[in-house]
Symmetry: C2
Subunit: 405 residues, 2 copies
Amino acid sequence: MTGAEPGLMPSQVLSANRPDCDFPLNNLPYGVFSDDRGPRCGVAIGDRILDLAACEAQGLLDAGGTFAAPRMNDFIARGPDAWAAARARLTALLSPDGPRDLPLVAMAGARLHLPIRVEGFTDFYASRHHAFNVGCLFRGPDNALPPQWDHMPIGYNGRASSVVVSGTPVHRPMGQVAGPAGPEWTASRRLDLELELGAIVGAATALGTRITVDQAEDMIFGHVLLNDWSARDIQAWEYQPLGPFQGKAFATTISPWIVTRAALEPFRRVGAARTVDPMPHLRDSRPGFHDLAMGWTLNGQVMARVNYAVMHWSQAQALAHHASSGCPMNVGDLLGSGTISGPTPDQTGALLEMTRNGQQPVTVNGQPRTFLQDGDEVGLFAHAQGAGYRVGFGPCTGRVMPALP
Amino acid sequence: MTGAEPGLMPSQVLSANRPDCDFPLNNLPYGVFSDDRGPRCGVAIGDRILDLAACEAQGLLDAGGTFAAPRMNDFIARGPDAWAAARARLTALLSPDGPRDLPLVAMAGARLHLPIRVEGFTDFYASRHHAFNVGCLFRGPDNALPPQWDHMPIGYNGRASSVVVSGTPVHRPMGQVAGPAGPEWTASRRLDLELELGAIVGAATALGTRITVDQAEDMIFGHVLLNDWSARDIQAWEYQPLGPFQGKAFATTISPWIVTRAALEPFRRVGAARTVDPMPHLRDSRPGFHDLAMGWTLNGQVMARVNYAVMHWSQAQALAHHASSGCPMNVGDLLGSGTISGPTPDQTGALLEMTRNGQQPVTVNGQPRTFLQDGDEVGLFAHAQGAGYRVGFGPCTGRVMPALP
């Protein structure tokens, strides 16, 4: 694939040709949808979804029947050659010269589902700004960054079972928190979001196998937006010495559309400058990041804007490190980038940083605010800007519901 | 179920009636095996395996066809009534009065497989002795136990993809470790084992649902032995602040036979005395532990013996805590107890504790030893002792292989 930015590729679906549309022909993100019929795979084009199961049934393309499944895993497991062939075929079908009788469904009338069966969820900590900001809050500026931070992409295993699709209500969790008279059992009082990019692993590795960063890059099928909801008070009480657990296990929201690595290839770029040369197993030969304008909203108000390329460790480096012990990776593994934050408060991907752990309230719709309240709706957004078009992710939203008794 | 210890229940399989046999009729542990035909479910009886797929095909019992699967998950998902019905039927079939033409396979000629598809792997830290011993090594006796230790079963998400069955070779992992001149990329020099009991979750909970400890108890299908292999030098460099990652991701070995909760019910007992009254969501109404004589061997030499009831937090309490944030639990989730250690070195479940982090070598086959060497074979064992019989787990072994280049 070339890094040249091709300009808008026009589609026969005219809504895809608008400069502010997240889903032009250049994008072709995959997802799972249902309408009067059950969940099956589709691709977003403008304000429509191309029914890939119907396309296969009509002989318009061939993916071995995998598009009829209610998850993308079976298609993804077919491998990079199949990904490239499907993209080329879909590009032809949806071009102005493509057939006119395509099985297109109005996105507005469809329900979007979790696009993959999440085999494993691992979250990293790859923004140096985020790691430093949070480290200062809890350990002070002299000990903000752990000594290994510049030498490896620090990560931890999350909980795959609580990964949900955009739009799923998120109930405030109950849990143990530190109190003045000892621990309390309470609804979290410090509910937060985390703006992240997720990588979906598209190839498996065997037990005992290591991979290079370049091999890891080729194993990534695509990306989603990811909100790693966090209960800071539960997390603070539980996380030493074995890491976050119930403070992050109640929900992780991802966007319904998987933007493929192929679609983002023209927007590849280098990340933050390094002060330490990576060890050999973490060295890469091409820019590991993408020029993505990202941010998040609270009840419709934009709270922060940041570029993904502010990150220090790429998702390919994270994947190579994940496999470095010989840990098997699977198709459908989801890797979170960790909170994406820049140096200033208006570039931070979490209220923990933005409000300095609640000490400096921000203003939301005219009211002072520290952490999330019941009824709040959080939205993540991201797109790569081309000349007269964009490759976008669509919405990744979640509304906070009261704790369940 | 009654807590009364029934004495040996004789079987028509005479090898099951020996007092030192791990698999009498009282036990009936489930597993997955293959011979000249492919993997299917079976139950261990003496030195034989009853082919449950064949039993179903012959109309000897009915489990909805789930015993023909290469994993136990489908049967387990049928629920507690199905578990009880199958156990009653198997008890009748294998009794001296049962049919003589049962499809029995010699265990010696069968290959044993991973008995479940591991949906999620979570490891806890439920031995107060282990937590204190390890805490003293890394943080000193004054800060050995984290402040929340007595208030919750501390746990972390492990990596499900590297759970392997007994007998699978374990390659020494490569990884980053701290060195005198900064971090090094090396084969681990401090490879260790962890003696644990695993619990297999047999019922699912929905997102946002909490459960009581008594409900959690009823959700546990059975138990396995679990060796949570650990590279202490990789772990020490990586684990702050987000917990263990590649230092434990390379392999976790479990025993091939799932000893059901029903089989262990007569051996139920209370655990270690508590100094802190658990919060309501962690309170139980019945003894949460079992009288299990456990231990581990290195190259055939018994290194430690300990009783499981030395533990502080039960696996039902761990499960209730795991779901306490609303985290969904799934059939096939595997929960590790954490290292099972008593107060003295000859009761410790890891070399880290036994050798005081390598400072006090132990003698193995006449040679001083700190951590595991290539070629070492580690074996875990456990059984509940009845009057003239035992309910055992069979072997859980793994041999250390050299690091892969």
